[in-house]
């Protein structure tokens, strides 16, 4: 069991496995994403309440989903960093944090643009938009703290503590923002909720969610590989790899 654990923790092993997985992740991810988006844009039926503006759902929901689960994944990696000090976990956090921030921004941006035809204004202090905004702040905090501490190990562990504190706070933030929202705006109508979505709508949605997740898997692998190349510069296998790439 421990040898397996060490194997999973070894950057060299990960580099090889990631290299083999990445073409599949990229091809499948892009394929599903394009299929879902084209289906959603051109073939899914019009929504009878919101008209065509609802088509933003096919990018809004995947971005929002992924943005939140990336933070959760980072929290799991943070536990691994703090408890077992596994190199890969902190590589993951460092490689993925900017991607999570961009996805959160995308969810906010598409939410705002969707709000214009639906609510008549760009921004509304809706519970979900507000908690996404706070999630963006949490991402910024993790990125800024990581780059402020120069020592790699200390930086990884400090960021891990911050992420864990953030992840404990996320449910509290969500709950309090929802409570605050009902206090201030008794009747907001929601972006996505519909009693039942017909399959012509939810199947493309599912496809684009899956596609974006796989694409994220590819990008995470790629960025982690880059970090490994940078950090493991002195090991023999990285040297040989660099030499081989050069010729």
């Amino acid at each position: 069991m421990w040898t397996l654990f060490h194997k999973f923790g070894s950057p060299k092993w990960f580099f090889g496995i990631a290299g083999r997985l990445m073409p599949w992740l990229l091809a499948l991810g892009l394929g599903l994403l394009v299929a879902g988006l084209v289906w959603g844009l051109a073939f899914a039926p019009k929504d009878y309440l919101q008209g065509n503006s609802y088509r933003i759902i096919f990018i809004h929901v995947p971005s929002a989903f992924l943005a939140q689960s990336v933070y959760l994944m980072m929290a799991v990696a943070a536990v691994v960093t703090l408890v077992w000090r596994m190199k890969l976990a902190d590589l993951f956090v460092q490689a993925v944090a900017p991607v999570g921030a961009v996805l959160t921004f995308l969810a906010l941006f598409t939410g705002a643009v969707w709000g214009k035809p639906t609510w008549g204004t760009w921004w509304i202090w809706d519970a979900r938009l507000t908690s996404m905004l706070i999630l963006l702040f949490l991402y910024f905090g993790a990125i800024v703290l990581g780059s402020a501490i120069s020592d790699e190990k200390a930086s990884a562990r400090a960021v891990a503590v911050l992420i864990l504190v953030g992840v404990v706070n996320i449910p509290i933030i969500k709950y309090s923002v929802e409570w605050w929202n009902t206090l201030h705006q008794p009747a907001t109508f929601k972006l996505t909720e519909k009693p039942s979505m017909p399959p012509e709508m939810w199947v493309p949605l599912l496809l684009s969610v899956l596609g974006l997740y796989l694409w994220f898997g590819w990008l995470a692998c790629y960025r982690m590989q880059t970090e490994i190349l940078r950090r493991e510069r002195r090991t023999r296998w990285v040297r040989e790899l660099v030499r081989a790439e050069g010729h």
Binding site: L82, I134, F137, L138, F140, G141, V144, L145, A148, I149, D151, A154, R157, A158, V161, L162, L164, V165, G166, V168, N169, I172, I173, Y175, S176, V177, W179, W180, L183
Partner: protein
């Protein structure tokens, strides 16, 4: 002299945990009373920020009554943030902090003691000052009472969470701004419930439930924050 006596207490293995914590609190209180500026600055800041709102927005009674609790809470939050940078700074600079980490008692208890001292020095004075400002902002008597109660429960949470941020940014350049970036998102629930409770009280609703929820925040912060703060402190000290 002040720093020598508690240091001796801390280094002694036979000293009980309670005495060690008390020594930390007493030492922090004493050293801030010697440097009164650190003690007064957050209060002055609190006062001035609150003054800006009638000048900047509107001195009308109706506006101030509506926005008053929000203004006071935000100002209290900001002045707590301002004072957090000093929480570990002096001890870090003169090496006392390293000694504290080395002593035999659990580190989280000392973090708790530091947070308590911080609250006594900034949070409690803010609570005491708040009614005066509440009257200047034309808040009603009942609202002021509830506001002070929410501040009394909420400011310790601010100190406890802030201690984590202060430990994480210890010894970094531009630590102050970074500290605000890290901590403000975590302060949002306290702010929402602090002002929300007062708003409910102004409308005549029962506030016991909300106050109980804020108390739950406090208990949660008391039990979890010192551990995170201690972990952060260890990381920052091993780095420097």
């Amino acid at each position: 002299m002040t720093s020598n006596a508690p240091r001796a207490v801390l280094a002694d293995h036979n000293v009980s945990v309670g005495r060690a914590m008390w020594a930390v609190v007493r030492r922090d209180l004493r050293s801030s009373f010697r440097q009164r500026q650190d003690l007064l600055n957050p209060l002055l800041f609190f006062f001035m920020v609150v003054t800006l709102f009638p000048l900047g927005v509107s001195p009308e009674v109706s506006f101030l009554q509506q926005a008053g609790t929000g203004i006071l809470w935000v100002a209290a939050l900001l002045s707590t943030l301002l004072s957090l940078d000093h929480l570990y700074r002096h001890d870090f600079d003169d090496g006392t902090l390293e000694q504290m980490v080395l002593q035999p008692h659990p580190l989280f208890l000392l973090v708790l003691a530091k947070s308590l001292a911080h609250w006594l020095l900034t949070g409690l004075p803010l609570v005491i000052l708040a009614p005066v400002l509440g009257i200047m902002l034309h808040l009603e008597g009942n609202s002021i009472a509830v506001l002070c109660l929410t501040l009394l429960i909420g400011t310790p949470v601010l100190s406890l969470i802030g201690a984590i941020g202060a430990a994480l940014t210890l010894g970094l350049r531009a630590g102050g701004v970074l500290l605000s970036l890290l901590i403000i998102p975590l302060y949002i629930p306290v702010l929402i419930f602090g002002t929300g409770t007062v708003a409910a009280a102004t409308e005549g609703a029962a506030v016991e439930g909300y106050l109980a929820l804020m108390a739950a925040f406090l208990v949660l912060a008391l039990t979890l924050a010192p551990f995170a703060g201690a972990a952060a402190l260890r990381i920052s000290l091993s780095n420097s």
